[in-house]
Symmetry: C2
Subunit: 208 residues, 2 copies
Amino acid sequence: MALKHKGLEFVSVPWRFTEREAIAFSGQGLVPVIVDGGQTVHDSWNIALYLEEAYPQRPALFEGGQSQALTFFFQQWVFRAIHSATLKVIVLDVFARLHEKDKAYFRESREKRFGMTLEKYAADPNASLAAFRGALEPVRPVLVQQPFVSGKGPGYADYLLFGPFMWARAMSPVRMLEPDDPVFAWRERMLGLWGGYARSAKGFPVWA
Amino acid sequence: MALKHKGLEFVSVPWRFTEREAIAFSGQGLVPVIVDGGQTVHDSWNIALYLEEAYPQRPALFEGGQSQALTFFFQQWVFRAIHSATLKVIVLDVFARLHEKDKAYFRESREKRFGMTLEKYAADPNASLAAFRGALEPVRPVLVQQPFVSGKGPGYADYLLFGPFMWARAMSPVRMLEPDDPVFAWRERMLGLWGGYARSAKGFPVWA
């Protein structure tokens, strides 16, 4: 989404959890990784800062230093409040759709993190979905007042929150949001950016 | 803090919970209310926007529209995650220091909101303090990376988070933060702004 925002051309490379050797050239084992000319950058926040610095004449992800600082807080909130709440809803759907070669790694690493089996972690789907929707509380008054988290137009903060929704949409048929939720309308706007770029990604339909 | 940030002179008027008649001219019953020449504005967010519009040549509270939008989210987070967690720690200290004429109103309105007595709400102070410190989690990596929530200098987001700390400092001897907490160092910076303006307010000392 940040690359589209900047209007940059790119080729994306499908990648699976256990394919460490494919990104070993980046000096570490996590995605995302970008290669731009001779530059290799990993970690989504570092990539956003890199794009902003390397392409200052393109549309800005951050209005300026204060906006970047506030977006960094927003990232911490999304990581803590939304990522784990999303995973708790969709974890068994994610597991079911993993390539066979990734299943053992995923189960082992996540069960260690959760301190329980995937099945136990996902045992109360109604409560998990309610907790996910509840975690979104602070963003609702914002999206009632303005079309995007970043204000009149989308910014990096919007892409941070959109990530978990695209993850869920790709992996799970669960209806994450009710159609009357202001976050639903925002997700529709995000899916529609750049001629429906995100909506064209493989995924379960979003019910209206 | 917003008035000091803008470098504006002002006279502040002490006010108690039940003194509705004193602010009836504002057409409602809540503080803060400001009177600026012929203008009356209430609600802290509306006051910030008013100051920014009325005094554009003074130091900005918001870098621009995106920063204002992201600060509006930050306000929602502070209100939901921090205000109630603060009150749960200090509610009995607040109650003990209220003027006699406000005590019945405070007890009745808060017990209705909490669905229990003040004493029951405050029954586990260690757990409440741990919950308060836990609620600050998303802001810690931010304050490790940069001196203020708003980046290199303080902005309206910092004043939003500072409010509950000044409330606690005024009303309660509880040590809200450990000295090795990055939020502690930030609070010190906030207390020191404008020659120690906030530190000069009546309150319990902050232990270092």
